[in-house]
Symmetry: C2
Subunit: 295 residues, 2 copies
């Protein structure tokens, strides 16, 4: 069960993340004003902030400097936010609702939404390379995020997802797509948090196992929620994957089996954290947060 202490930690840090993002984003008054306003609209619309929370939780293991790990956390969230803006475009998922509000291209226009996504990606790398984050691993961190975002990571997973519409996939194919589409960026969040302090290779490998399990569990649960929830609860159009003829864990194995798979991945993630003792408590709670969430 999620503890009250975790809930209050998560809430307090969602507020801190929001305010850090607000500082990182250019002011609406700065030229070009409409683009900057649209960037703020797309990023500051709330959301669970799962990726930055994972980065912060991972930073706790290495006693990372709070300001440094916050910059790393925000850089991942900016990549995530850009991907949502582009995914919602008519040429992609053509969605009009996100977190209960009109999507960026509906609120503004398609050209602006395109540039919002492009600019948020640049801002992610600007943030990750800022002097406030200086450390011997900073270049490596940039490279990690770039690989996780690109054609062999998130964008590649998105491409595979589009190609798969109407196709029947087997489980390994579906998994291969999701590892890229959502897994790589979740993995980057967790490793970037750890890179803000000192961690040996062995610890990083354990963390990597945790990250991969949680990343996949996150997607499995997403499919379950898409199949089971209402649009109002979800804050985005529910049942859309099924309507679009996209293969999901639910369409492949049914809701019950999919939930079981998520539970197994959760167990595997938790056991990988054993070597970190009490320092990984927040990451354990985050696993719980990801797998047991309702929205």
């Amino acid at each position: 069960m999620r503890s009250e202490a975790f809930q209050s930690w998560a809430h307090a840090h969602q507020v801190r993340i929001e305010s850090a993002l607000e500082r990182i984003l250019p002011e609406s008054s700065a030229m070009p004003a409409r683009l900057h306003e649209a960037m703020r609209y797309a990023v500051l619309a709330g959301g669970k902030r799962v990726r930055p929370l994972l980065a912060l939780a991972s930073g706790e293991i290495v006693d990372a400097d709070a300001e440094k790990v916050m910059l790393a956390a925000c850089s991942v969230e900016l990549i995530h936010a850009y991907s949502l803006v582009h995914d919602d475009l008519p040429a992609m998922d053509d969605d009009v609702l996100r977190r209960g509000k009109p999507t960026c291209h509906v609120e503004y226009d398609e050209a602006t939404a395109l540039l919002v996504g492009d600019s948020l990606q640049s801002l992610a790398f600007e943030t990750l390379s800022s002097p406030g984050l200086s450390g011997k691993r900073q270049v490596e961190m940039v490279r990690l995020l770039a690989k996780a975002s690109g054609s062999r990571g998130m964008a590649g997973g998105q491409a595979m997802d589009l190609e798969n519409v109407g196709k029947s996939l087997d489980l390994p194919e579906l998994e291969s797509m999701h590892i890229r589409k959502t897994g790589e960026l979740i993995r980057a969040s967790i490793l970037l948090g750890a890179h803000c302090g000192e961690m040996e290779e062995e610890g990083l490998a354990k963390l990597d196992h945790y990250a991969k399990s949680i990343g996949l569990a996150f997607q499995v649960i997403d499919d379950v929620l898409d199949a089971e929830s209402s649009t109002a609860t979800l804050g985005k159009t529910a049942g859309k994957d099924q309507k679009d003829g996209k293969p999901t864990y639910v369409s492949l194995m049914g809701v019950r089996q999919a939930k079981r798979m998520a539970d197994d991945l959760y167990d595997s993630a938790i056991s990988a954290l054993g070597c970190f003792g009490g320092k990984a408590e927040r990451l354990r709670q985050m696993a719980d947060f990801v797998v047991k969430r309702q929205f």
Copy 2:
């Protein structure tokens, strides 16, 4: 006049740049194959490679390591290539022809073109943060390219360009847009080249002046060529800016004055190079290449 020696240098290095880009881009056979094929289509379609040539020419001043400066040069070209793919999309300039070939979204589809651009931007930062480029300024280089690409740089200039359609601008407003839209990335090319070696602040300031002048001259000449050339010579749809009601240097001051402005900027750029003596010969020739080009 452009010397034969310069022409042979430029040609040889265009070939080297092409082959470096070919190595940096994922193979078409790597999954997702269609995305990777489209990325290669968008980048390996030739082109003048002005930005990477500027980086290489700037690297000559500081005797930069050839492989390092090539990676920096390619990272800028990848940003440029991504911007062309996105600019050509129907929601933006809606262009069907680029370098005499169908644009990326025409040859593939809109969703793929969107992801091609997104992935090329990630690849640019992956390239700039690669171990092959290690040096004490590498993080600063990433930050320079990120700022030049984002909402206060190239993407911001593109947003201003879209907002300006059908509006009457004065010269400072037009200049402010172009400094962002093309100037910042050209400046980044030149500074990144210099950062691959050692250069004092004073030298960097001179180089910056050269870069800003050349960047603006490049755009002025672009407007002149768009007004004067045929589609066949240009390899893209000619006269398009005028047709789209976009303000240009030509529409504001006429062809003769625009050419004169480009010449003045050229003179200013050349005089900024004085302190570098013979080492800046290639950058002088590049100024010539940019201002005196026919396509």
